[in-house]
Amino acid sequence: MAKPKVGVFGMTGCAGEQIVILNCEDELMDILKVLDIRSFHTAMSENDEQCDLDIAFVEGAVVQPEEEVWLKKIRKRSRLLIALGTCAVWGGVAAMKNEVSPQRLKDEVYGPRGQIFKSIPAQPLHSFVKVDFSVSGCPIEKEQFLQAIASLVHGDIPVLPKYAVCTECKLNENTCLLVEKSELCLGPITVAGCNARCLSYGIPCCGCRGPVEEANIASEVEILKEKGFTLGDIRNQLRTYAAPAEVLQTYFTKR
């Protein structure tokens, strides 16, 4: 079987996903054995911008009109488009700005004399194109990425956990920060896959991986309010990584 032709692309973000890919130091040689990387701007200069691709990995959120055009082009030439990272899957930190007026942002940053740059509300990829599979995380977890590649090479769509971080937190036998220490933990509504990374360091889950499919935001907010957090604090925390996520939008517009 021919190696799948692959492109790695970055919209706007911190490039975390590309760095995670490059962080697969031990596996990089094996990755090159199974993938035919045609485009990866952060890592190589000779990029094929035209060829058909089997898989396009796209990180980052769409924040400029040019990126929308570019993304659609990538979609057209790729059999599978895979969103990498919370920005690509949910909008990520960039999407926090959707909550603030664009004029205010530009004024504050570039001043009245500054050039006004074109900018559109930051959106995840699925707002513009069909996404075949998502690997969330800010940044993605190396293990999940490698798992995804292995499945794709085998010809299957990968399966990643859909349950919440709490499950992994319990599998690691951590003390529950929400229950035992009344901390603002988003573990119950955040999708697992990080092996409860923060919790294992005694740090509450800040929701960097985005919400689970059926996130019970109302119940989570009730629990946190009972612990003394204000709706503002809770809302800030929830929207830091996944502002445009439908569940959050629906919950907060109802208020």
Binding site: G13, L22, A43, V93, G111, G114, F117, C138, G202, C208
Partner: protein
């Protein structure tokens, strides 16, 4: 005759940038380093947020320098609230930043810049002919990541470095195991130096350069400091960093330009080695001699060499930190409690690419009213353009393709991190 060189998409740098040089009648008339990474307005977005939400959000400015962003952010907040952390915390934070430095330099040197010197399109192609060098580079990169994983809890966007200390202090055993890896890594790095020393470094980009870095009265080379020093001998307080980085918005780019006393300046490994290199000792000192950075240079391509020296420094420093902590006896301390108050806090640290500033103003509940982050790449942009001008001037008769490649080499030598530089600073 008019000629214009465009590199639409600068590859092997992180983020999206381009180069645009216009040549008319044998003269360089316009030079632009263009940045078209989308803007995320992160600094404006943290306004109104509570202090403890800030470091993780601003870490997302850049994945590759996320450790030093996090630490600088913590330092600025602790500065505002007069929080004093333990000496163990300080050492562990230093260790984390060294890990980031090793990782970032190794990535840049072996995967992004080395292919340039050897004429490859990237590490993926380089690896088939020079597997040893690439593997060694990856090994060093991994070493940096191992430090970041152990101390920071994650290689990118550390989670364990928090206000007042660490979520979980690593155990003595973990640190000793890490030390063993560092010792092995040092061997590898020294071997790698031999190879770097054998590379010929062209000097077409040579031009008068002002260097800037953090300095201090301490005896030892450090990625921290208490003032900003310049190659002209001047120095400035960190709090007055704005006078140094008086940024201008330029029309062709999303990022801004910094000047000091009307001149562009360079920050980064080369600036540090030029300004503080005399404080290096043991293997790093020898490497500096071996790689010929003993005497001043104004050739930016030497930044790669300076990074090699710093890899050695950072490994040695990491070992030293572990020894010091282990000797004192590692304490499983909980983070210091934070007492927010109104006020301002500023901090700086040396990121792999140069001096990084974070400065915040808080209201009395500890909510941000103003945030300012100045990244090294932003400071370097004006200097990059200066070097383009000098290089293009010398290379004016080169065929376009080669001119283009060489300009790219200049840009890449700065190790520009474009997602970093597209940040937002209030312009008065």
């Amino acid at each position: 005759m008019q000629k214009s060189v465009m590199v639409d998409h600068l590859c092997r740098v992180e983020g999206h940038g381009g180069i645009n040089v216009a040549i008319e009648d044998g003269k360089v008339v316009r030079v632009e380093m263009d940045i078209f990474e989308g803007t995320r307005f992160l600094e404006a977005l943290v306004v109104g947020r509570s202090y403890n939400e800030i470091p993780p959000i601003l870490s997302r400015i850049c994945a590759i320098c996320s450790a030093v962003h996090t630490i600088t952010s913590l330092l600025a907040i602790e500065d505002a609230f007069d929080t004093k952390v333990s000496s163990q915390t300080k050492l562990l934070r230093d260790l984390l930043v060294q890990g980031g430095n090793i990782e970032s330099h190794a990535l840049h040197l072996f995967c992004l810049a080395l292919p340039d010197f050897l004429g490859y399109s990237g590490a993926f192609t380089l690896v088939s002919d020079h597997p040893q060098e690439v593997k060694r580079g990856l090994g060093l990169k991994k070493l940096g990541n191992t430090i970041q994983e152990i101390i920071g809890g994650r290689a990118v966007h550390p989670v364990n470095a928090i206000l007042g200390g660490l979520g979980k202090v690593p155990t003595r055993e973990t640190l000793l195991r890490l030390k063993e890896e560092l010792i092995k890594g040092l061997e590898e790095a020294l071997t790698a130096i031999e190879f770097i020393a054998s590379l010929e470094i062209p000097n077409f980009s040579q031009s008068p350069t002002v260097y800037a870095a953090l300095g201090s009265s301490a005896q030892e080379y450090s990625l921290f400091g208490d003032k900003i020093i310049f190659s002209g001998g001047e120095s400035k307080e960190i709090e007055s960093y704005k006078e140094v980085c008086n940024e201008r918005v330029v029309p062709h780019s999303h990022a801004k330009r910094s000047h000091f006393k009307g001149k562009p300046f360079m920050v980064g490994a080369l600036a540090r080695v030029m300004l503080n290199g005399h404080k290096l000792n043991s293997a790093a000192k020898k490497a500096k001699e071996k790689l010929g950075l003993d005497s001043p240079t104004e050739n930016i391509l030497h930044n790669n060499t300076a990074q090699a020296i710093e890899i050695i420094y950072s490994i040695e420093r990491s070992i030293q930190i572990i020894d010091e902590i282990v000797e004192k006896g590692i304490k499983d301390e909980k983070p210091v409690k934070i007492k927010p108050k109104a006020g301002q806090g500023t901090a700086a640290a040396e990121a792999p690419r140069g001096t990084l500033y974070h400065s915040y103003t808080f209201d009395k509940e500890g909510r941000v009213t103003k945030a300012d982050v100045i990244t090294p790449t932003a400071q370097n942009l004006a200097n990059i353009e200066k070097d383009f001008r000098a290089s293009a001037g010398r290379l004016i008769n080169e065929p376009e393709k080669s001119l283009q490649a060489k300009l790219e080499m200049v840009a890449r030598a700065y190790d520009p991190c474009i997602s970093c530089s597209v940040h937002l600073v209030r312009v008065r």
